[in-house]
């Protein structure tokens, strides 16, 4: 490939392609970063993926990495690759807002463990990405700062809550990004924006430095242009962290070893309930044709009944809101972040600060969660939800006795219009129907492009795996990618 050609393609290239070019000295880390920054400056007016753009810092970092490369240092696979981080992941000395007025000025004095890990990889940091306030939402419209547009159609939402992350990767404004997924917040925007998004097993990636929404469900994961990049980023961020008690201490695999184009004998189950009511026809079509492709490649496909599925949404909204009501109580105007200008006493300071600092959706969830935990209601709501959680987990375990992977849609629809669902939160909550049970059970799942609808909007399919079996998901995703052409399509 000629150097000149490289530059034209940089914006559409994956991390592993760019890494290869850097190693072969076809291109420098500085050139890549400059190109991406130019693209950010060109596209941001329409896309609005970033809350903070760290242009100077990124260029300086790229220069340092290039210097090491020129000196002949052996560098990790992601060295010199420009990436961006969802704005609920703490970055030392860089604004971390969670998309909220409440943290409009919050600069953490520490890095999240994942950020430290990416720094060890010599990744270049472009900045912080837009999101629904405190990761609550499915459209990124709940951000206090801006609304992010879907690069495939700028009148549509990019999904959420990691909408900024998915849009930035799809628009070539970052080679890859980190998102967080509490009920589908990585997978659904990945599906809406035609990119690859993985929610790893709960406990595989440290949550230290991830501003908590629902501690027992939150998990950081990669949003990438293809499955190979997904494996490379997993290699960088998975692992035990003594700073996170819920991080599992075990031997983590080399995920790139799972990049194998072979699904022969793979047992794939499709939950009947996920292919019926409320599912858009074109999406159903795409999932069925994906299953045929797998079958042709030697996998076995079988439908099964996932009876607990109807309890997933109510259980999820009770548990996540209950935890959120407690996690978000610390934003009281006393220590950091937003404080109301006018207040008469301590209680009033709390009331004014929290009324002014939080948006509507966040307040809705805090009230829901506070109610669910209140004495007299705890047993009827929170405790019931925990029981449903156990049953869902058990049903998944039973399914995984028969199947290696579960295949289903990521979302019941493609990206919808900006403003289309803002007045109907319940309808928006139902959009999480295929993703939330995965968080409830703590399982890994990947969303990858599997088709386009008649309006040329991407459709995502979801592969759900056994706990800590990301490797099978990588293998299944990689095989699909190698035998189809959906990941190679770009919006521009």
């Amino acid at each position: 490939m000629e150097r000149q050609d490289c530059k034209v393609n940089i914006l559409n290239m994956t991390a592993h392609q760019l890494s290869d070019l850097i190693k072969r000295k076809k291109i420098s880390a500085v050139e890549i970063t400059k190109n991406i920054i130019d693209n950010i400056e060109k596209r941001e007016e329409q896309i609005n993926a970033y809350i903070t753009i760290a242009k100077e810092q990124a260029l300086k970092q790229a220069e340092e990495v290039q210097k090491k490369i020129d000196e002949g240092c052996e560098l990790p696979p992601l060295a010199g690759i420009p990436a961006a981080i969802k704005d609920n992941i703490c970055t030392k000395d860089m604004l971390t807002t969670c998309g909220s007025k409440m943290l409009y000025n919050f600069v953490p004095p520490y890095d999240a463990t994942v950020v430290e890990n990416l720094k060890k990889q010599e990744v270049v940091f472009l900045g912080k990405l837009n999101m629904d306030e405190f990761a609550m939402g499915s459209t990124t419209e709940n951000s206090y700062f801006k609304k992010t547009a879907n690069p495939w159609d700028i009148t549509r939402v990019p999904g959420g809550s990691s909408g900024g992350s998915a849009a930035a990767v799809a628009a070539g404004e970052a080679v890859f990004a980190l998102g967080s997924d509490t009920g589908g917040s990585i997978r659904q925007p990945a599906s809406f924006c035609g990119v690859v998004g993985m929610k790893p097993t709960y406990g595989a990636v440290s949550r230290f430095g991830l501003v908590a929404f629902a501690s027992s469900l939150d998990q950081i994961g990669p949003i990438t242009k293809d499955v190979t990049d997904c494996a490379l980023v997993l290699n960088a961020i998975c692992g035990h962290d003594p700073m996170d008690s819920t991080s599992l201490d075990m031997e983590y695999p080399d995920y790139s070893k799972a990049l194998v184009n072979d699904v022969k004998g793979l047992r794939i189950g499709i939950p009947k309930e996920y292919m019926s009511d409320g599912l858009n026809d074109e999406i159903k079509e795409a999932i069925l044709s994906a299953s045929k492709i797998y079958e042709k490649l030697g996998a076995t496909i079988e439908e099964f009944s996932f009876k607990m599925s109807e309890y997933a949404i109510p259980a999820y909204y009770l548990i996540s809101s209950a935890e959120a009501s407690s996690n978000l109580a610390r934003y009281d105007g006393i220590k950091y972040g937003y404080r109301a200008q006018k207040f008469s006493d301590l209680i009033d300071l709390y009331k004014q600060t929290r009324s002014e600092g939080f948006g509507t959706e966040v307040k809705r969830r805090i009230m829901l969660g506070t109610y669910a935990l209140s004495s007299g209601y705890y047993d009827a709501y929170y405790k019931k939800a925990l029981q449903a959680r156990t049953l869902i987990w058990q049903e998944y375990n039973k399914a995984f006795e028969k199947y290696d992977v579960i295949l289903c849609p990521t979302a019941p629809t493609v990206a919808y219009k900006i403003g289309e669902k803002t007045d109907n939160p319940l309808e928006m909550y139902l959009g999480d129907i295929y993703t939330v049970s995965v968080n409830i059970a703590g399982l890994p799942a990947i969303s990858l492009p599997c088709g386009f609808n008649s309006e040329n909007l991407p459709i995502g399919m979801q592969l759900i795996g056994k706990a800590f079996d990301e490797c099978t998901l990588i293998r299944a995703g990689y095989t699909f990618e190698k035998n189809t052409d959906f990941t190679n399509k770009t919006p521009f």
């Binding site: 703490c90 971390t96 004095p109 908590a212 996170d244 009501s325 209140s374 929170y382």
Partner: protein, 479 residues
């Protein structure tokens, strides 16, 4: 009408671990405000707690020493409420599955031995401290205490008087000191208690409505608060009123308690399992290891002092009530091999002087071995008992070795017969009336003359020699 007082205690003790419960900050008392804290103990966005294992060990030690069952599986929960000293707006505590439960302590009061049930002991974190700004109308917050580990000991409503409450607390304090679980410095707030109190007519089996009293910072305050609250409730009932379930704040200066909030105004803490922490599992091996690390406890030591050293029950009780005092006793007796004499010194002069000077048991200014040496000096006849008391007094001032004091001030017993004889002759000369009385058979006069001789020698003469020589002189046939 005769009333019975029913009391249950909630005791908070700060654990003596080096670092805090969920981060590595020091637990050291004092320090400039907000210098013993980090993003974790101040609850900054995104941080996570990691349980300090020694907190579990310390709490289990306390549980074992108080005859509790240790839960193999327990968990931590969030107690949610808004207050500026609580930076996360929840306190991590234990709700329905505490680390230790169903224990008891047998206490000895003037009415004999009584068993007080312990409902539970659980671990939790301390909060920060609010301070009124000296220069402005605002309030300042010091987060140094935030995340310092605590245990909360909850008793059954088995306590029936202020005395029982005091003795129980003294027992708990001694156990926590012996096991090294807490340094129990009440003035630094590392041991504090809330009192739940109700009254009922004698013979009644149902409990009355209880109140909870907070802000009790000393044993004395607890005793006074119990007496005052019991009287307040009795007066209320006697005057036809009813007791309101409420939380009251004790004002030790005014000697009164004031209502803080009623049951209706009580917080709904919305407890739920802390999702950032994993369950605490105390394996059989770990429990065994902790058991084996337990030191001798106050009751065991008391029994040993009675059996091994022949101390009276009461003396053994007092001396073992404080680890500092018991350790002092033990070291002192090792030096001289005369435990009874050491016990007498402690029960007499030592406790009296400590009380007079307001010195804590932990702050005795001289080494225990020095008291041993002092007793040794008496036993060897180097000094007299009277002189020893003076030297002991001196040791509090200078913290000097008694042998040094004796040498420096020339306080050795005079054993020189000639010198003593001279003194006796002088005493006989100047007290003819007493000599006469003695000779006419009044034995009492002899004692007086001994005293005079002793005084003349400024207490230094060997009393046996005085006795012998005086008798010899007086009984000499008249010349």
């Amino acid at each position: 009408m005769s009333y019975e007082i029913v009391i249950g205690l909630e005791i908070h003790a700060e654990l003596a671990t080096k670092s805090k419960i969920y981060c590595s900050c020091t637990t050291e008392f004092g320090g400039e405000p907000n210098t013993h804290c980090c993003p974790i103990c101040t609850g900054m966005p995104g941080v996570l707690p990691v349980l300090n294992k020694s907190v579990v060990e310390y709490a289990v030690k306390a549980g074992l020493a108080m005859n509790c069952k240790i839960s193999e599986y327990s968990k931590q929960d969030r107690k949610n409420y808004f207050y500026p000293d609580l930076p996360k707006a929840y306190q991590t505590s234990q709700y329905d599955l505490p680390l230790c439960k169903e224990g008891y302590l047998d206490i000895t009061t003037s009415d004999g031995i009584k068993r007080i049930g312990i409902t539970r002991i659980h671990i939790e974190e301390d909060a920060g401290k609010l301070m009124h700004d000296e220069w402005d109308t605002g309030t300042l917050i010091d987060y140094n205490r935030c995340g310092v580990p605590l245990i909360e000991i909850v008793t059954e409503p088995d306590i029936r008087s202020a005395e029982e409450a005091r003795v129980f607390l003294e027992n708990v304090k001694a156990i926590l000191e012996y096991t090294g679980v807490s340094d129990c410095k009440m003035q630094e707030g590392s041991l504090r208690a809330d009192v739940n109190l109700s009254i009922r007519k004698k013979g009644e089996t149902r409990f009355g409505t209880r109140t909870e009293m907070k802000n009790l910072n000393s044993f004395r305050a607890i005793v006074r608060a119990i007496e005052a609250e019991a009287q307040r409730q009795i007066d209320e009932i006697e005057n036809g009123g009813t007791i309101v379930q409420e939380t009251r704040r004790w004002d030790d200066v005014k000697g009164m308690s004031f209502s803080m909030r009623t049951k209706e105004e009580a917080h709904d803490y919305r407890y739920f399992p802390e999702p950032d922490l994993v369950p605490i599992v105390v394996s059989k091996e770990w429990l065994e290891k902790i058991k084996n690390s337990l030191p001798e406890l106050p009751q065991q030591r008391k029994q040993r002092y009675i059996e091994q050293f022949g101390l009276p029950q009461y003396d053994a009780e007092i001396i073992t009530s404080s680890k500092h005092l018991a350790d002092f006793f033990e070291k002192a007796q090792e030096t001289c091999g005369n435990p009874k004499a050491i016990s007498n010194w402690i029960m007499g002069d030592l406790l009296r002087i400590l009380k007079e000077k307001g010195i804590e048991y932990s702050d005795i200014p001289f080494e225990a071995g020095m008291l041993g040496k002092l007793v040794l000096l008496i036993d060897k006849g180097t000094i007299s008992g009277t002189i020893a008391k003076k030297i002991f007094q001196k040791m509090f001032e200078t913290a000097e070795d008694p042998e040094v004091i004796v040498k420096k001030e020339g306080l050795e017993v005079v054993n020189d017969e000639r010198a003593i004889l001279e003194i006796i002759q002088r005493v006989i000369m100047s007290n003819p009336q007493s000599v006469c009385d003695y000779k006419s058979g009044k034995e009492k006069a002899f004692g007086f003359l001994v005293g005079q001789a002793m005084k003349e020698s400024r207490g230094k003469a060997n009393p046996q020699l005085i006795n012998k020589l005086l008798k010899q002189e007086l009984d000499k046939p008249e010349q």
